[in-house]
Amino acid sequence: MYDVAIIGAGVVGGMTARALSKYKLKICILEKENDVAMGATKANSAIVHAGFDAKEGSLKARLNVRGAEMMPTVCRELGVKYQNNGSLVVGFNEEDRAIINDLLARGKANGVAGLEILEQDALKRLEPNISGEAICALHAPTGSIVCPYDLTVAAIGNAMDNGAQLKRNFAVCRIESTENGYLLSSQTDSVEARFVINCAGVYSDAVANMVGDTSFRVHPRKGEYILLDKECGTLVSHTIFQTPSKMGKGILISPTVDGNLLLGPTSVDGEDKENKATTQEGFADIIEKAQKSIGAVPLGKTITSFCGLRAVGSTGDFIITSPKKGFINAAGIESPGLSASPAIAEYITQMLSQQGLTLTEKESYNPIRTSSHAFREMSLEEKNRLIKENPAYGRIICRCEGVTEGEILDALRRNPKATDLDGVKRRTRAQMGRCQGGFCSPYIIELLARELGVPYERVTKSGGASFINVAQTKGGQ
């Protein structure tokens, strides 16, 4: 019997698990995929929004501003890269300027600090590569960037270090009320918990339906991206938004915390919650719009493209409700859900307490997790000392990103353990560089097979039937 079961290991479920792991509670996280951060959390713009976008008085506005405030501390404790690069909403004509003025007013009402309007000269000084067509911009110095999957892996790892349990490949398909709470079942397994938190992303309506809550719907809205090589990472230093208008929200151009350049997202409503395919139309749309902001886009430097699904709720706001005692929805968590996530966790904790969950702090609670980037950030002497102790840190496996065997083994052994190739990628950046794993994946598979104790050909890309190899060769081992 658990005190709390969290459905969904995205950033919202992860932050919530971490917030609750501070207390004397038995917690489990149920995730249908083979790893954490597999939903919207792994494919988004990675922006910690300043908070001028959401409507005054909405839960989105409140939790965004609070979450953005909490984020630097959370990232410091979890050793996650966070960069306060500032953001700019760029206007190309007088209509845009009017909207930018509205955003400024809204931001002030939401309590966002430091907002200012820049004219063309000042804008050019800040971002020399911006298009000459840009006439003004809203500058939000508190806008920041973060790595969303690093944040989630770290939050869940920290929660696990503090006692929480993670059950993977556990797709909740039935929820029944019991005497003391709820029985949550997958096709093959079940757990019982006094309190349940629904953080199931695009499927949060389906999960709410399992307890009879049909008060809202969630539909997927596609967002496609193009990611460029690190050579392009300094093309802009701020996150560059286009002014939202009748014509749509435009796309953003932003450096990432790892030094690449991200272009996107598109915005296309759909019905299929599994369809994360990129499209020719999407590419064309991104390219056309990106050109508006920075002129020529060095597309030859594309490293990869991907697509995320926004969980768009039918109410227009975050749906953080309790349809039944002991059951809490965190649904319709679209943007700025990443920014708001620490505040959503705080909010849910308060709701649980109000519903009678006793929150007693654990003495053993440790909010600190050693950073996944610890080795990179060491001095030469520290690195050499570590290599002496553990020679695996002297061996480079991923040559593009310079990731050592030691770092990969760390990802395979530390909470939450990577158990497939993509899991290693998100934790270490191995396979994320220019050659996209062409060189290092055969070696990483070897390490995975050894650590998991499975044959080489049973190693997967991302769980399920995503096998990399299908058989031994005729002359094979």
Binding site: T278, G394, K461
Partner: protein
């Protein structure tokens, strides 16, 4: 302090080391990040290596072994499992391995021989999902030849580069079915020999002017949609065709690995993606030389070895201070000839200029001119981007030349 450090222990690095040793340099270190010397050759278990150099058809590992033995005979020092992380303009090398940790060496001369990597799928922006089952051809080659595992059974290959062609045959021999090799261009980028021996001999269809436009499948690849492309290489909608398959191999180009060269401030050619070099394969940074696939992509290892010998010998001369600098003759091209190596001539001696063309041309003559003067004119029945060509200029022909211009003229 070392006299000569060579980065990369593939055929280029080994030949360069041997040539430098033959020229009297003793204090040499070859640094190789893999567990063995030989570079990419170790996974090329097919034959076809060494035809020019040794007059016999060797496999990749056999070819490499000839050089490895020589390296041992000459007592040339090398470090395996050691990756060079950084190279500075003043030739300080930072490297790492398990035994020494992260260490630095200063060298009088450096030879870059890091080879190349395959272009990845990302650069192609193919629409669709991102399942398992999509690999670059060289990665698949490593799975099959080095690890003993088969990455799939029903295969489509995109790109007709040599590695793709070789893998079409290799996968077939392993019992997989190769349904098609799609090539965006109206001609193949691979060697004519490989098209015959790897595709035609196995009845594997080569679909020229075709590309993959969509990828299907959730966990593992389930199929690809291919389409014919028009003259501007845009897919033609009504020619879309679905091919069920569990594997897509990409052989869409090789990119010289020049991260270290860039770190050392070496000038890079936007066409070859390798260093700009003179006839000695010396880069824009004195004392830093480059050879092999890191300089420009070769189709035959024999030419790699040849080029590396030039670099090794010249590095020795540099270390001994016996280099004489006199000229500065830039070598320019007309675009039909896409590039030459070297791109500049600085010494008066016989120079073989290697070049590639940018399209397939028939019945042409290659002209080398200096102003109005024609220095060489060579007739060619057919030239193709997949086959490297060369012209040797005699020392005397360079006498009063200010600039060399390579062009292709119809006949």
């Amino acid at each position: 302090m070392k006299d000569l450090v060579i980065i990369g222990g593939g055929p280029a690095g080994m030949s360069a080391a041997i040539a430098a040793a033959d020229s009297g340099i003793r204090d040499i270190l070859v640094i190789e990040r893999d567990a063995h010397l030989g570079g990419i050759l170790q996974q090329c278990i097919h034959n076809g290596f060494g035809l020019h150099k040794f007059g016999e058809e060797l496999t990749g590992p056999e070819y490499a072994w000839k050089y490895e033995q020589k390296l041992h005979d000459l007592n040339i020092d090398y470090k395996l499992n050691t990756m060079v992380l950084d190279l500075s303009e003043d030739k300080v090398i930072t490297a790492t391995n398990s035994e020494d940790g992260i260490f630095q060496i200063r060298a009088k001369a450096v030879i870059l021989a890091m080879g190349c990597r395959e272009r990845a799928k990302g650069a192609l922006n193919i629409a669709g999902s991102r399942p398992a089952g999509i690999y670059s051809a060289g990665t698949a080659q490593k799975f099959v030849n080095m690890k003993g595992f088969l990455p799939g059974k029903n295969v489509v290959i995109l790109g007709s580069g040599d590695i793709g062609l070789i893998m079409a045959r290799r996968m077939t021999l392993e019992g997989a079915k190769v349904h098609a090799v799609c090539e965006l261009m109206p001609y193949s980028g691979g060697l004519a020999r490989n098209i015959q021996q790897c595709l035609h001999d196995f009845d594997i269809p080569l679909r020229l002017s075709h590309t993959v436009v969509e990828i299907h499948g959730k966990d593992r690849l389930e199929g690809v949609t291919i389409a014919q492309v028009d003259a501007s290489r845009k897919p033609i909608e009504k020619t879309r065709e679905y091919i069920p398959c569990d594997t897509l191999l990409l052989s869409v180009g090789l990119i010289p690995e020049n991260e270290l060269s860039k770190a050392a401030q070496v000038d890079i050619s936007p066409i070859t993606n390798g260093a700009v070099v003179d006839q000695d394969r010396q880069t824009s940074v004195p004392g830093i030389f480059a050879c092999g696939n890191v300089l420009h992509v070769h189709d035959l290892v024999d030419f790699v070895s040849e080029e590396a010998e030039i670099a090794g010998k010249a590095a020795a001369e540099y270390i001994n201070g016996s280099q004489s600098d006199a000229l500065s003759i830039p070598v320019k091209t007309d675009g039909k000839i896409r590039y030459t190596v070297p791109q500049i001539i600085t010494r008066k001696k016989d120079v073989t200029v290697y070049f590639r063309v940018s399209d397939v041309y028939k019945n042409v003559s290659v002209k080398v001119t200096s102003g109005d003067a024609v220095i060489v004119s060579k007739k060619k029945r057919k030239v193709a981007p997949g086959e490297m060509e060369s012209i040797t200029l005699k020392r005397d022909q360079l006498a009063s030349v200010k600039e060399l211009y390579f062009s292709l003229e119809g006949m």
